[in-house]
């Protein structure tokens, strides 16, 4: 037998195969078509024995080419059909990603704590330690050692809440964080570079600007050769860390435990001193008090005022988030605990 009939049969088989592959609309149909094609090629292969020996290789070659052509077409079609099927499956798995997630309820530190930490971190950066003390104090630490003698009019500046312990008016809710200065100087020798954040109490009726319980931070430095210039420069550096490009202002004032004493203010960071509602159109915000440690305070803790000098300053912590975050009332900030507020910061 000559080669021709088988060669023709091979090319017919390719033609049939390509049509069947193209007609397959899903993977099952494609697999069925492939089986039929394989059967036909197997049949052709079986016939090769009857071809003249010299022509067998030509038939074999033609068959191989035909098989390869059919396989390539099937592979390509399989790829197409698989892609379509995959896309259809994914289409069936559609999720609306705008609907599957809810507002994430993360936890929040209180705005006061956030500022509190920031203040601690700034002072740690300046090389200071952080100290605390009891919230209920004795008269010695809160007043007497701080140069408020009994009956001193400056005591009347601080409406004190007393507790029923010890002698009458001996134990009280500290009116400022300054007693921690005394405890610190009583317990460790200078040099002292420390800040003392804490909770403080006054006998006050709560309103938008007052609270009987509030937060202060106090700074104390005791070393050799500390000056008023150091006090003012350090405060200015600290203000810049906290508020950015601001200036510190100092106006002479009076506190029993410092002398010279000054009110401490900062140029308004919100209007660059041009005047706005926050600074009551003055360009300045009064924040707290400061001064050089009074020699009587050094005497109270047994330090020699000729050898050591120091400065102290303090201000309200709550004021900072009120200013920065434009919070309208101290009550909102401190005691309402309204989650609609807490979740904002």
């Amino acid at each position: 037998m000559s080669a021709r009939p088988l060669i023709d049969r091979s090319s017919d088989a390719v033609g049939t195969a390509l049509r069947a592959i193209a007609d397959a609309t899903d993977l099952d149909a494609l697999r069925a078509a492939e089986r039929r094609i394989d059967d036909e090629f197997a049949a052709i292969k079986r016939e090769i024995k009857s071809v003249d020996a010299a022509d067998r290789s030509a038939v074999g070659q033609a068959l191989g080419t035909a098989q390869a052509q059919a396989r390539a077409a099937a592979d390509a079609r399989r790829g197409e059909l698989e892609a379509t099927a995959g896309a259809a499956r994914l289409a069936g798995e559609r999720l609306d990603l705008t609907a599957v997630g809810a507002e994430y309820r993360r936890g929040h530190l209180h705005p006061v704590t956030q500022v509190w930490r920031e203040l601690e971190d700034i002072f740690c950066g300046l090389g200071y330690e952080v100290h605390g003390g009891p919230e209920v104090e004795d008269d010695w630490h809160n007043f007497e050692a701080l140069n408020f003698p009994p009956g001193h009019p400056a005591r009347a500046m601080q409406d004190t809440l007393y507790v029923n312990l010890g002698e009458p008016e001996q134990v009280l809710l500290r009116t400022h964080t300054s007693p921690v200065q005394i405890r610190l100087m009583e317990s460790q020798p200078p040099p002292i570079y420390a800040v003392m954040p804490g909770r403080t109490f006054r006998r006050d009726t709560p309103d938008a600007r007052h609270s009987p319980v509030f937060h202060q931070i106090e700074c104390l430095v005791v070393d050799r050769g500390i000056t008023m210039g150091d006090l003012m420069g350090t405060i200015e550096v600290f203000f810049r860390a906290l508020f950015g490009d601001v200036e510190a202002r100092f106006l002479p004032s009076f506190f029993p435990f410092t002398e010279p004493s000054a009110e401490l203010g900062v140029s308004c960071p919100f209007c660059s001193r041009s005047g706005c509602r926050t600074c009551s159109h003055t360009g300045w915000i009064e924040l707290g008090g400061c001064g050089m440690v009074d020699p009587n305070v050094f005497a109270a803790v047994g330090l020699d005022a000729e050898e050591w000098s120091g400065f102290a300053f303090g201000f309200g912590i709550d004021r900072i988030p009120l200013l920065r975050n434009e919070i309208d009332s101290l009550q909102t900030l401190l005691w309402d605990n309204d989650v609609r507020f807490l979740r904002q910061f």
């Binding site: 809810a102 929040h108 200071y128 209920v136 500046m157 009987p212 070393d223 008023m228 210039g229 009076f254």
Partner: protein
């Protein structure tokens, strides 16, 4: 303290513009609260005479006043003030006039009657808060005259807030002296003429029984003609914020404002025994003060009595009614004293009675100014009350106060201030303040006796700082010594860690009031027996110090629920207070961590929402154990007050009780109006952080595969899963990598009081793949141990 500029100019020729003066006052430490130009906002307000007052046809409290105001002009106005009467001269704001506060007067109909303008009170003219009705002007005021001229309103008034150390600045003179120094201007206070000292003035005697409380008392006698003080004096008093009363009283007030020298004028004819006695009061003694209130005195109060020792004034605070000057007075005894400040402060505080005089005495007036002050008053009385003074003076001043002599070293000045001043410069700075200096360096500073705040070198250094100006001192930065490190202590870092764990678990930090009431405790099922009480609470709700943060947190949850936010997770890190430990004075203060999670945990739409579970609070405990690497924390089932009796537990760290966790008791939820379940925990943070820790060493990670198997046991309800897990761990030994409870259930088949607990175990070796022959005996050992230890039955 209100200081009119014109009055300041009586003592120093200051010409600087008001804004510059205000800056100077601030830099001097005399803080300016406000610069008031009372006349600047007043236009077209004139003096008018009320011709007649007639009733309003339709209103009881409103009347109609016919007024004339010069040049034959007459109008009718409607007026609601009760004090108007025909003949009075009053300020009249015409239609189109301006009053302070940008208030323009228009023609208005009031209850049907047209008012052609308005009669003004002193408050409406911006002259203080006097509610006493329409301001009455002197009778001889020219009608039609601008009230700004009549009342001296072209002046500028500095409203100062004076610190307690500066009594001198409670007088115009003290303010003027500071300003004169600042601007380098002369300052002059007329010197008082020499006085003629006597022991008695005629039949008038003075006895000071308590010289330690009244170190000086000066008395003068004069005849007076009572009446109104002249317009200029009334103007200044009004500008300074005081109401004119009568010429004699006005003069005493005037001298008080000018010299910080409170005086008291007694009607001599009403002083029984024709004299005064200064003594301490007796307990329970009573007297009626000028304000009509009867006061009960005690042995700490000082009284000025008549010659028969009957109290006529509370010394330094307020005069009495009986010897008050009035229209019938013809002869006065003028008393000018120095009272010991602390005593005045105590009495004023105890009586709840503060006056312009007590505010000055308690800061300390100048003892050496007493005679000159009386003299200044008599000079003014001669002018405004036709006074004829007896030249004799009684002066009880056994121990005259000398100027404090303070040694001042320029080196010390510079060491404190960071300045570079010579001693001569320092002297030059302080001398204009009335400080006399002797010597060079160190020098003696003899300080004026009206400055009781100047007694030490540091006090003079503060004066130098005020004079130099704090803005002119070079700013430097104090840096901590080399080698020291600024950082938080371990306890402070761990406190932050605890807060961060809670934030990580989705909790918001709350701050609740540390002052609460016993009822707040009972409300949440706690008892109020061992609490610290506030001695002088302002409100009953703030009468004790909280022994727990739970009441505050639950109140916060309830508040949020009431505002429509029932699903909250809150925590607080705060101090709680217990009675002092034995031997201590101060309360036992502890920092507590409290947390509450309430309502529903929102998971929709992808999973069903679920109610808060007590396990949500227990999870926080486990998170803390992990974060702090605690070695021994146990949860021990026990009924905790205020919590669900069978869903609460104590937390033990190293065996010690440090707090509790559990579900809030149903009755507490009901009292708080809370629907959903709420879980809470409260832990002593100090004790928590003091707990033993697991070492923070790396545990090598095995590269061999694990062997996993599950074991389920049936045990009694009161056998804690944590105890079974502990038994498993002990029995399995080092090969056990992990044991986890993965299922727990009860069923009828298990029988009452019993439940099934199922654990997943994972075993792994570091050096080999475990084989069944190794695992089989381990599994048997674990089962045997659990069965034996917990009376358990292995399931299936």
């Amino acid at each position: 303290m209100r200081a009119p500029l014109s009055w300041i100019r009586d003592f120093t020729p200051i010409e600087a513009p008001p804004s510059e003066i205000a800056d100077a006052l601030n830099q001097l430490g005399l803080e300016v609260d406000d610069v008031d130009a009372p006349g600047a906002e007043i236009h077209d307000v004139v003096a008018a005479r009320i011709v007649q007052v007639v009733p309003h046809p339709d209103a009881d409290k409103i009347r109609l006043a016919d007024i004339e105001f010069g040049g034959g002009r007459a109008l009718r106005v409607v007026c609601g003030a009760p004090n108007i009467a025909a003949g009075m001269v009053v300020p009249f704001a015409q239609v189109g006039a301006m009053l302070p506060g940008d208030f323009r007067i228009t023609k208005r109909k009031i209850r049907g009657v047209v008012s052609e303008g308005m009669l003004c009170s002193s408050r409406e003219l911006g002259l203080g808060d006097d509610h006493d009705g329409i301001l009455v002007l002197p009778d001889d005021t020219e009608l039609g005259a601008d009230v700004r001229d009549v009342l001296g309103l072209h002046d500028v008034v500095f409203e100062l807030s004076i610190t307690p150390n500066r009594p001198d600045a409670m007088g115009i003179v003290g303010v003027a002296r500071d300003l004169a120094a600042h601007f380098g201007l002369p300052f002059a206070l007329p010197t008082a003429p020499a006085i003629e000292l006597v022991d008695r003035i005629g039949d008038v005697s003075v006895v000071v029984d308590a010289p330690e409380r009244c170190p000086r008392l000066v008395a003068r006698v004069a005849t007076v003609v009572m009446g109104e003080s002249p317009a200029w004096m009334q103007q200044r008093l009004r500008l300074a914020g005081m109401r004119p009363i009568s010429n004699v009283v006005d003069v005493t007030n005037y001298v008080m404002l000018e010299r910080c020298r409170p005086l008291h004028a007694f009607d001599l004819d009403r002083l029984a025994g024709r004299g005064i006695v200064v003594r301490v009061a007796t307990d329970g003694e009573r007297m009626t003060t000028l304000d009509g209130v009867e006061r009960t005195l005690d042995g700490g109060d000082l009284v000025i009595c008549d010659g028969e020792r009957s109290p006529q004034a509370i010394a330094g605070i307020m005069g009495g009614r009986d010897s008050e000057v009035d229209a019938s007075t013809t002869k006065i005894l003028l008393e000018s004293a120095y009272f010991e400040p602390a005593g005045i402060s105590r009495s004023s505080k105890r009586l709840g009675l503060r006056s312009e005089a007590s505010a000055r005495f308690e800061r300390g007036v100048d003892p050496n100014g007493a005679a000159a002050g009386a003299d200044r008053a008599l000079e003014l009385l001669a002018e405004v009350a036709g006074a004829v003074a007896d030249p004799a003076t009684i002066d009880r001043y056994p121990r005259p106060v000398a100027r404090e002599r303070v040694t001042v070293r320029s080196a010390r000045v510079n060491a404190i201030l960071g300045t570079d001043l010579t001693a001569a410069e320092v002297r030059g700075l302080v001398e204009p303040l009335g400080i006399e200096t002797e010597g060079s360096d160190p020098f003696i500073a003899a300080c004026p006796t009206d400055r009781p705040d100047l007694a030490r070198e540091i006090d003079v250094i503060e004066e130098v700082a005020r004079r130099v100006g704090l803005q002119h001192i070079r700013r430097t930065v104090a840096s901590a010594p080399a080698g020291s490190v600024g950082r938080l202590s371990e306890a402070q870092r761990e406190r932050r860690l605890v807060a961060d764990v809670l934030v990580g678990a989705g909790f918001c930090e709350a701050m609740s009031m540390p002052l609460i009431s016993p009822a707040d405790l009972e409300h949440v099922g706690l008892t109020a027996d061992a609490t610290v009480e506030v001695a002088n609470p302002l409100r009953a709700e703030e009468s004790i110090l909280r022994p727990s943060v739970r009441p505050g947190l639950l109140r916060a949850v309830a508040g949020n629920a009431a505002r429509g936010e029932p699903d909250v997770a809150l925590f607080e890190l705060g101090t709680v207070f217990g009675p002092p430990r034995s031997g201590d004075l101060l309360p036992d203060e502890r920092t507590m961590l409290g947390a509450v999670i309430a309502g529903t945990v929102r998971r929709a739409p992808r999973e069903p929402d679920r109610a808060v579970h007590v396990g949500d609070a227990v999870d926080v405990v486990h998170a803390l154990v992990a974060a702090l690497r605690l070695a021994d924390l146990a949860i021990e089932a026990v009924a905790v007050p205020g919590l669900h009796a069978s869903r609460s537990a104590r937390i033990l760290v190293d065996g010690a009780d440090i707090g509790a966790v559990g579900e809030v008791a149903p009755e507490v939820l009901a009292r708080l109006d809370l629907v959903g379940p709420a879980a809470t925990l409260e832990l002593d943070v100090g004790a928590l952080c003091a707990g033993r820790r697991r070492p923070n060493r790396f545990v090598p990670i095995s590269s061999f595969p694990p062997v996993n198997f599950d074991l389920a046991f049936v045990v009694a309800d009161d056998v804690a899963a944590a105890e079974i897990a502990a038994t498993v761990r002990a029995a399995a030994g080092d090969l056990l990598e992990r044991v986890e409870l993965f299922d727990e259930f009860r069923s009828d088949a298990l029988g009452p009081g019993r439940r099934s607990v199922a654990f997943a175990l994972r075993c792994r070796a570091h050096d080999r793949t475990l084989t069944d022959t190794e695992i089989a005996p381990l599994r048997t050992a674990v089962i045997d141990a659990v069965v034996a230890a917990h009376d358990a039955i292995l399931r299936g």
